[in-house]
């Protein structure tokens, strides 16, 4: 197929994607910004102490004092959501940043290494990818054994870089034969020089959407981990650890404990997905 034919096809396809519009996802960005601001400045917005277990009002349905009700330990869910969101977003961003750094370094190294090293390095990522992500995370989490915010972010970051590294490698393989890289090498530029000035700036745009999707993945992973009791303990409030109480709440039919944190989680994830979809569209 010639380039020209390709171009024509791309045009045709773009025209026919009714849904995949190039419009900037205004609603998603606004919603996400609102949630983020609310979480970061949770001190201002929350109306109760999220950690205070009020034994007089356990499992209270939403009312004028407790806007979103209280959980099975008597904590105010509204204040907890703002407070916990901060942890969830922090874990999402930190884990994604860690995975991006690993992916950039690993992918670039693989791309500039001799062919057989490259082959081995890529096989290694394939093998790691063959273990389902959640299984890999719980294994590493079981080995790491600690349950604080940082360690969970690190565990998730260290188990979610592989598919990004594959894309970085493909990008850098193209970049490494560009003349500016050849020139830099002739000047004596080391691998890390090229990484800093050439590989990262040029491959970052094509993994930006994945970095954002990894924020989403990390938030869900933390929530799942905490829900099954392998992540954060109940005392550290995150959207996941809040939902770990939901299993009990289901039996007592306290819908608000299940629904309200869940809705916040889902809205955040949908917003992140929309933004990421927009970026995919833009990079194409």
């Amino acid at each position: 197929m010639t380039d020209k034919a390709d171009n024509i096809e791309v045009k045709k396809i773009n025209r026919s994607y009714g849904y995949r519009s190039d419009r900037f996802p205004v609603v998603s960005v606004l919603l996400l910004a609102m949630i983020a601001v609310g979480c970061i400045f949770c001190g201002i917005f929350s109306n109760h102490d999220p950690f205070y277990m009020n034994l007089d009002s356990v499992n209270v349905a939403p009312n004028s004092t407790f806007w979103f009700g209280t959980d099975t330990l008597g904590r105010d869910i509204y204040s907890m959501i703002l407070n916990g969101g901060r942890i969830s977003l922090f874990i999402g961003i930190t884990a994604s940043a860690i995975s991006a750094v690993i992916a950039l370094v690993y992918g670039s190294l693989s791309a500039v290494a001799p062919e057989w090293v490259d082959e081995i390095m890529m096989r290694f990522t394939e093998i790691l990818l063959s273990v389902p992500s959640i299984l890999l995370i719980i294994f590493v989490q079981a080995v790491a054994g600690s349950d604080n915010v940082i360690s969970i972010a690190v565990v998730i970051g260290f188990t979610s870089w592989m598919s990004m590294a594959k894309i970085v490698r493909t990008e850098v393989r193209q970049i490494r034969s560009e003349e500016y890289v050849i020139a830099a090498r002739a000047m004596g530029g080391s691998f890390f020089h090229n990484l800093r000035w050439h590989y990262i700036p040029n491959s970052l745009p094509s993994i930006l959407f994945m970095i954002i999707m990894n924020v989403r993945g990390a938030i869900v992973a933390e929530a799942t981990l905490s829900f099954v009791g392998l992540g954060l303990p109940i005392e550290i409030i995150s959207w996941g650890s809040m939902l770990s109480l939901a299993e009990k709440a289901v039996m007592s039919n306290s819908w608000w404990i299940v629904f309200i944190p869940g809705i916040f989680l889902i809205v955040t994830i949908v917003c992140i997905t929309e933004i990421s979809n927009f970026l995919v569209q833009k990079t194409k």
């Binding site: 026919s16 096989r123 063959s130 959640i134 719980i138 054994g145 799942t224 989680l265 997905t273």
Partner: protein
């Protein structure tokens, strides 16, 4: 061609064996990093009642005094003979526990996989035939949102609605007590988990297939058929779908890992007695032998699926064979 295919299959088998070997090294290395008494992970509580002499003997027998690579060699030798160690929690060989439950997981995952890919293709075709219309847009919107719902949360909501409030479906397990052979009991236990597995993944793959089909419908041969009087529906059903088969199979192959992950989480929430539940329990009890075994067999299945998928799509479409490497050349 036959010779080439034999060679390609042989190559794939070698890659498969090496991959599993490397996976075992990674998994073993990770388990070695874990803190705590290594004897506990092998003998369980018994390790705590051992006297010094017994401990020394056990260390000797398990080769724990040896360097790590010798330990690995011992472990892999036992593993090749089918001995993956004793489960810390169940006090039985790990493979016995897993084999007793693997059927449940295969049933749930297999039906889920089948449903996802049948429905995904149907949904993709439906969207393509109604491309750009309101119904297509609605499906796309709803689809994006459903794919954003965490599996465990959807499972909780379904339990609350169907098991707690309406009381029409069971909330946990794989069958009613003592009724493991009762098909209806098994099916009713599987409905909710299946709904969660399918909703969690359906849209992701439908969307991929939809876009791939749309690419297909703008190709020249479609115009040709249109000119000869075939309806769009006929063209899509008869020709476009056939042409995206290699992609369909590749997507299936890549999806295995994700669908397995989804199944494991769903099993956990529904306390479904499968490998997923076992994995989460093992992680909680730091049952490393069990975790190692689960990681290796899951990895083995996924890698096999990937390689098989690759082989099948190569068979259907020879263009997907390894591309000729182009050597850079300047001047």
């Amino acid at each position: 061609m036959n010779k080439a295919r034999k060679k390609s299959i042989l190559r794939k088998m070698i890659i498969y064996i090496i991959s599993i070997f490397v996976l075992s090294v990674i998994v073993f290395g990770m388990a070695k990093l874990s803190p705590g008494d290594p004897l506990v992970s092998y003998y369980g509580d018994r390790a705590e009642r051992m006297n010094d002499e017994e401990r020394a003997h056990a260390y000797e027998r398990l080769g724990l005094n040896e360097p790590v690579y010798v330990q690995y060699a011992l472990w892999i030798r036992n593993a090749l003979q089918g001995d993956f160690g004793i489960s810390f929690k169940y006090k039985k060989p790990v493979q016995d526990i897993v084999i007793a439950r693997v059927g449940n997981t295969l049933l749930l995952g297999g039906i889920g996989f089948f449903l996802i890919f049948t429905l995904a293709l149907m949904l993709a075709m439906f969207c393509v035939l109604h491309e750009g219309r309101v119904i297509d847009r609605i499906i796309c919107r709803v689809g994006t949102i459903t794919s954003c719902i965490p599996e465990f949360w959807l499972a909780l909501v379904l339990i609350m609605i169907f098991a707690v409030n309406l009381k029409i479906l069971p909330a946990s397990g794989a069958y009613d007590i003592g009724q493991s052979d009762n098909v209806i009991s098994r099916m009713s236990h599987m409905i909710l988990p299946l709904i969660v597995v399918v909703t969690g993944h359906l849209w992701y793959y439908s969307y991929m297939l939809r876009n791939r089909l749309l690419e297909e419908t703008v190709k020249d041969y479609v115009l040709l058929y249109e000119a000869s009087g075939l309806s769009r529906r006929q063209i899509v059903f008869r020709h476009c779908v056939r042409n995206i088969m290699p992609t369909y199979i590749s997507i299936m192959a890549i999806s295995i890992s994700h669908i397995v992950a989804g199944t494991y989480i769903v099993e956990m929430v529904f306390s479904y007695p499968g490998i997923g539940t076992l994995a989460f329990e093992s992680a909680r009890y730091h049952d490393y032998n069990m975790l190692m075994y689960i990681c290796i067999i899951t990895g083995a299945v996924v890698i096999f699926g990937n390689i098989a998928g690759q082989a099948v799509s190569e068979m259907i479409d020879p263009r997907m064979r390894e591309q000729v490497k182009v050597v850079e050349q300047d001047d």
